[in-house]
Symmetry: C2
Subunit: 179 residues, 2 copies
Amino acid sequence: MVIKEGLRPGGRSARVQASVHSAVHELLEVHARSSVTVPMIAARAGVTPSTIYRRWGDLGALLADVALARMRPDSEPADTGSLRGDLRAWAEQYLDEMNSEPGRMMMRDVQCSQTPGYCVSILSAQLQAIVDRYPADTAPSVDRLINLLAAPTVFRILFSNTPLTVAELHALIELALKA
Amino acid sequence: MVIKEGLRPGGRSARVQASVHSAVHELLEVHARSSVTVPMIAARAGVTPSTIYRRWGDLGALLADVALARMRPDSEPADTGSLRGDLRAWAEQYLDEMNSEPGRMMMRDVQCSQTPGYCVSILSAQLQAIVDRYPADTAPSVDRLINLLAAPTVFRILFSNTPLTVAELHALIELALKA
């Protein structure tokens, strides 16, 4: 699957995408994931199934694209006035979102997609935006923030019985901020 | 799914388990995962499908049990004579194993199981065994080792285009060892 970025807003292609994405959202609200099919989505979106196959390849790729679009943040990370504060606000929101049912489903879909790296590039852009606000601080690298904040958040949700606590998250932020 | 631990070795139950696990291994060597079915496994293992359904619940639970059994290490972590050396040996092997095709499949199966926490308990036991060898050192906690070593290893494999390098892994070990 190639994820189409930079579609001309309002173009035919963008309208098809918006309509198909909405159809997926609506269907997932009333149907179990395993019972949603491409023909159902096509009927609801008012396109032919072959439009969906041509554009996304298969159902898994379409679900991953929808999940990634949902994950793409609508706004800049919160600006609290300090690097520590921004990282705390970002990390607490990330923990909340990933630990929700849509967050878990998103992680599952993204792993099955051909472009899981796209996930880290979204995170990286958000963390880079935070780091860039504080040029005077000796800020940690974005890779370090991903390894120390995003990775334990996700790992604990996927493979442990207990997600990170906010106290653990704050301790990891202190560790990331250490020279 | 309840994972049956402490089966009496050689008992009927243990023989059924061994036979079903072998059948799964053999079938996965020649068939795509998505084409393996419970009746195929039952036929190869010489049991009835209902034996499998009664014991494991469904195919996903059985695959997860097989994946977890494969992940359970056959031996103690390598003893190199130092805490740093043992952690390096363990972390490098873990990175290698998780980054392999069976490792990736295992992670996928385990996430779909009802007992993903079992995964962390296996890791914890290995790391605890290492830490216990060096009572004189102010060793990091097992939770810290999981957050700083296992989590980035797995996160980068699942969600990024590039796994951790050995140099990054060593830097994370140094960070984990810092007071």
